[in-house]
């Protein structure tokens, strides 16, 4: 059906999530490399790699964003989150050099959203991460707008490097 009246709850802006947004819920399901900074008794069954009754302090695990956000405390007694590769210095240099050549879809579906959410974990690199995400978007914006405006009847395979959320962000409807 040609639906103009289905307006789902949009994702939140910046570091905020919209509680009812399906996009934000999927975003906060993404897993982050983390480390427990204390013991979690009686939850050992969640950790397939160990047979312990508890999750030991210092266990490295892939934790969904919602859980990491919920457990994280500034004083760092509970859980610590490691930056995924794409947000570390190495990749930040690549994005700085030329953001338009990176295949963002390969880096995971939520580069911008996850980048914004990472700021919740008080990394000392926060200002650099925020800058990188912002500059990447600015750098790619023009190309994305051009492509979405002019994609009518064109070969869109070259657009494979742009992931769909970028196109959504431009608010354009592609005439595929």
């Amino acid at each position: 059906m040609e639906t103009h009246s289905y307006l789902p709850v949009p994702p939140g802006v910046g570091m905020e999530e919209n509680f009812l947004s399906l996009d934000d819920i999927l975003l906060s399901h993404e897993r982050l490399p983390s480390r427990t900074e204390c013991t979690f008794p009686r939850l050992g069954f969640l950790e397939k790699s160990s047979d312990s009754r508890d999750i030991q302090e210092g266990t490295k695990m892939e934790m969904p964003l919602f859980l990491a956000k919920g457990l994280y405390e500034r004083k760092r007694r509970v859980v610590s989150v490691e930056l995924p590769k794409v947000y570390k210095e190495g990749w930040r240099t690549v994005f700085n050099a030329d953001p338009t050549v990176v295949d963002l879809h390969k880096m995971g579906p939520y580069y911008y959203g996850l980048g914004s959410q990472l700021l919740h974990f008080d990394s000392p690199e926060n200002p650099e991460i925020a800058q990188a995400v912002l500059q990447t978007f600015i750098g790619r914006f023009r190309r994305t707008m051009d492509s979405s405006q002019n994609a009518y009847n064109e070969d869109t395979s070259a657009l494979g490097i742009w992931f769909h959320l970028e196109l959504k962000a431009t608010g354009q409807k592609r005439n595929d």
Partner: protein, 175 residues
């Protein structure tokens, strides 16, 4: 890991990005609610133990489960809300009588909500445009032509429009 069923029902909805209504996943909701019950009961028991025996090391685990409880709650709320948005769209796409196959996709409460929404919309439409009301679900696209035909309700006599033309406005004539 907890909350896997919850994210599954969200993905199911998200997959249909065009606003179509999939069947109500009663079983999925039931499973999420069951997981919530289990998490809650485990937490109740651990909280009592932590309080009575001073086992403060249980607190991280309690927080963990609580986090998952909130997550499940969020997923269910978002699932139900997004479905209502889609059901609301149905009134505008299909009118007041829904095709039977779509009606089967709705649970009893959603059907009830749809009926109430229809009533609210009808009441609103009746309140517009004088005695007969105005059906705003018709003619949702703007007209392509520059001019529109109108019927005159009252005798006004002669009327001069912007370009200088004079029209005679007589009751019940169409211009």
């Amino acid at each position: 890991m907890f909350c896997e069923k919850a994210i599954e029902i969200i993905r199911e909805l998200h997959r249909m990005g065009d606003g179509q209504l999939p069947a109500f996943n009663e079983d999925g909701i039931r499973q999420v609610l069951e997981e919530m019950k289990a998490l809650y009961e485990q937490n109740q028991s651990d909280v009592n133990e932590a309080k009575s025996e001073g086992k403060s090391e249980l607190i991280p685990t309690i927080k963990f489960r609580h986090c998952c409880l909130l997550r499940n709650q969020r997923c269910i709320a978002a699932y139900l809300y997004d479905r209502l948005l889609r059901i609301r769209t149905l009134r505008w796409e299909y009118g007041s009588v829904l095709p039977t196959n779509i009606r089967f996709h709705m649970c009893a409460e959603e059907l009830e909500w749809f009926n109430q929404y229809k009533k609210s919309l009808a009441t609103f439409m009746r309140s517009l445009g004088g005695e007969e009301g105005l059906d705003i679900t018709q003619d949702m696209k703007p007209p392509k032509s520059l001019y529109i035909e109108v019927r005159c309700l009252k005798d006004h006599g002669e009327f001069e429009i912007d370009d200088g033309t004079i029209i005679l406005l007589k009751k019940n004539s169409q211009v």
